[in-house]
């Protein structure tokens, strides 16, 4: 837990571009909320590795969203089913379903579609909110946090030292 906190603080307190953090959180949101073995997650994984998003934050956020997804599965199922059976969208879904790529994407699964919709809705919110929060944190809270005893303890802990030594 201390290691986790330390990793978050390290990223927040570093010079990392807030957009790299926001990108990591947005991609982790898709990766964690939607079922893992889907075609779009292969693309998400490619983006995570190819784009210069922060990997530490991505891994932490992925864990968080995966736990959240377990709790929200019934909601995803209901939302996805409603979207997939909505009469105005039916021609679009039917056309996509007729293609191999459509079937391979598993978009017609209620949980995949529901979680994807939630991910799409959350993505811009998470992007702008994260950038705003990180910037404000660095501007107004960074110095205050650095002075806090808990930060000193975390910074000086053996776990963090070990972690940092491993990271080089």
């Amino acid at each position: 837990m201390i290691g986790l906190l330390a990793r978050i603080l390290k990223v927040l307190n570093s010079e990392t571009d807030p957009r790299q953090i926001a990108g990591a959180i947005v991609l982790a949101c898709f990766f964690g909320l939607t079922p893992l073995w889907t075609l779009h997650n292969l693309i998400v994984l490619l983006l995570v590795l190819l784009l210069r998003v922060n990997l530490s934050i991505f891994i932490i956020a992925w864990g968080f969203f995966t736990v959240l997804a377990f709790a929200l599965d019934p909601l995803f199922d209901a939302l996805g089913h409603a979207v997939l059976t909505a009469e105005p969208l039916r021609p679009l879904w039917a056309a996509f379903y007729a293609t191999d790529i459509g079937k391979l994407s598993a978009f017609n699964n209620s949980v995949v579609m529901g979680s994807l919709c939630v991910g799409i809705i959350l993505a811009p919110v998470l992007w702008f909110a994260t950038i705003h929060l990180v910037r404000n944190y660095r501007m107004h809270m960074l110095e205050w946090v650095r002075r806090k005893r808990i930060y000193q303890v975390i910074r000086g802990s053996r776990l963090l030292t070990t972690y940092q030594s491993l990271r080089g």
Binding site: P35, L49, L50, R52, D77, A98, S110, V111, V112
Partner: protein
């Protein structure tokens, strides 16, 4: 974002390549585990596979040493296959689509013994739940071979007559209460007295004016009295109808004790009836077991052979929703997108039975869901010397192309089956020492309606009782000692939810002579005792029934007397007007 991380592309390729490499490396084991796990879940008992061999170029799967446990007998395999092989379409598998042109099955055997039990946690439960008919267990008590005492019979058998008489009495009381309430609403003695007084007053006057006034009053009175009389007459007609119905109820109840006497007398003294009970006791559980086993497999495999409900109610007007395979949630399917079956096996070719026998045949057009494929599933198998059966012929079909009018047909013949060791009775008390049986199962399951015939002929049959069997079974076994030919037939009709089961057998004829002398000697005394006991048990309630009936009759008389009074006063009122 500051740019592209090119080493990330390498990492991505390494991760994806690693996953593919792991799959290739462990494919055999994963397929073996997958078949065992999915098979066990399908069958409800352990399914084992010795080895799976996944070939990638050409894409082909070979399964060796498949053993499927019989859930009803976990120490026996329902079937074993030495080898199954078929080509795989990897792209199709990624799309959740299994399309196979031909599956080749070799070395098929049925009913082989297992070294260890193949039961899993759910086996016992699934077998119990799957029973189509369960009548033999309800009649699991062996009928006596001599006439029992009246007390024993009445302790074992429920008399229907007391209940019927009480029900009839209650009905008569209900009718009486209703009629009394109706009578209370009708004009009675008070109205009659008032009319009489008014008629007297209207006819009292001596002078002309009084007489004229009286005549006017009488005219009005006649109308009123006539209305009341009509109401009474209508009520009387209704009461008569009600009394006729009550009389039917009462007479049915009066006949009930005699019906009870006749039923029990016949059941315990008629040699044919007792022999029939005995035959059912011995053969019922075995025949039910055969039917239930067949039904178990039909129910278990049906969803994987294109059965099932075929989606939810939305299917009629919109997209169809089905449970997702290998995922959580539900899959929505769009019929207008030109849907293909998720599973389609064009042909399963079976050849060469293991153990020296010969089996040849094929199963064609296995499609799930079946309504997306133009052909029904067909089975055609023929074999010789397969698993102790001299000649086996199976012809069947399962047509679910239109879920609303699905029909499954089966015609199975298994001739020359050695039945030595076949156990009869719920406790397996009688064993076949020798015999060759010809079985035939023919019938249809149309929607939920059943029409199945099971017939079997056991030739050169000889039976004996086990050493720990009770004396009755010993005697029965002695009578069946050299039975010769034994015919057994069962007919299953009705619906899946409420099946009818009828058993016929020549065993009744074999056992009847054994019972005739023993039963007839004691029949007269038994009947007298039965009459006395039933009369005593129903006498009191019959008296109550008669009392209720008499009360009802008195209500009719009461109504008639009122009607008579109104008729008289009406005549008196009319006379001066004439």
């Amino acid at each position: 974002m500051t740019g592209i991380r090119w080493w990330g592309l390498g990492a991505f390729v390494a991760i994806v390549g690693g996953i593919v490499a792991l799959w290739v490396l462990f494919a055999d084991m994963l397929v073996r585990k997958g078949v065992e796990s999915a098979g066990t879940s399908m069958v409800g008992a352990r399914v084992e596979l010795e080895a799976a061999d996944v070939g990638f170029s050409p894409a082909r799967l070979e399964l060796r040493g498949l053993a499927v446990t019989n859930p009803d007998e976990p120490m026996r395999n329902a079937l074993e296959a030495e080898r199954l092989a078929f080509d795989i379409d990897w792209i199709g598998l990624l799309l959740d689509r299994v399309h196979i042109d031909e599956v080749s099955v070799e070395g098929l055997q049925f009913g082989t013994e297992r070294a260890t039990s193949g039961a899993v946690m759910a086996t016992e439960r699934t077998v119990k739940e799957s029973g189509l008919i369960d009548k033999a267990r309800e009649r699991a008590e062996i009928p006596p071979l001599e006439v029992p005492s009246v007390e024993t019979v009445l302790g074992r058998e429920g008399l229907r007559s007391p209940e019927l008489i009480e029900e009839a009495s209650a009905k008569l009381e209900q009718r009486r209460t209703a009629l009394e309430e109706r009578l209370a609403e009708l004009p009675g003695k008070e109205e009659l007295e008032r009319y009489r007084r008014q008629v007297d007053e209207a006819t009292e006057g001596d002078d002309t004016a009084s007489r004229l006034r009286g005549l006017k009053q009488l005219r009005d009175l006649v109308d009123d009295i006539d209305d009341d009389r009509k109401a009474l007459r209508k009520a009387r007609d209704e009461v008569k109808e009600s009394l006729a119905a009550a009389a039917d109820t009462a007479s049915e109840a009066r006949r009930a004790p005699q019906a009870d006497i006749d039923r029990l007398y016949r059941k315990y003294t008629d040699p044919a009836a007792v022999a029939g009970e005995l035959a059912y006791y011995l053969l019922g559980p075995k025949v039910e077991q055969w039917v239930n086993q067949g039904w178990y497999w039909f129910g278990r495999l049906s969803p994987y052979l294109g059965g099932g409900d075929g989606g939810d109610a939305e299917a009629e007007s919109g997209p169809e929703t089905v449970p997702a395979v290998r995922r959580v949630g539900r899959n929505v399917i769009y019929p207008e997108a030109g849907e293909e079956p998720r599973v389609l096996v064009r042909q399963v070719r079976i050849s060469g039975a293991a153990g020296g026998g010969d089996l040849d045949g094929r199963v064609t057009d296995i499609a799930v869901p079946a309504y997306l494929w133009g052909e029904p599933l067909r089975v055609n198998l023929s074999g010789q010397a397969v698993s102790g059966i001299n000649r086996l012929q199976v012809d069947g079909s399962m047509d679910r192309r239109d879920p609303a009018t699905s029909i499954s047909r089966l015609d199975l013949a298994a001739d020359g089956t050695d039945v030595a060791g076949l156990a009869l009775g719920p406790e397996d008390g009688i064993l076949a020492d020798r015999g060759q049986a010809d079985f035939r199962v023919a019938g249809t399951v149309r929607d939920r309606a059943l029409d199945l015939d099971v017939t079997s002929v056991i030739r050169d049959a000889a039976f004996s009782a086990g050493s720990d069997a009770d004396s009755i079974l010993q005697e029965v076994a002695a009578a069946m000692g050299n039975a010769g030919r034994l015919d057994i037939g069962a007919r299953v009709g009705g619906t899946i939810d409420s099946p009818d089961f009828e058993l016929t057998s020549s065993l009744t004829g074999i056992l009847e002579p054994l019972l005739r002398n023993r039963l007839q000697a004691e029949a007269g005394e038994f009947r007298e005792g039965l009459v006395a006991e039933v009369t005593e048990r129903t006498g009191g309630s019959l008296e109550e029934l008669e009392a209720s009936s008499a009360k009802l009759d008195s209500l009719e008389q009461e109504l008639e007397s009122r009607l008579e009074g109104f008729r008289n006063v009406l005549e008196r009122a009319r006379k001066p007007l004439d």
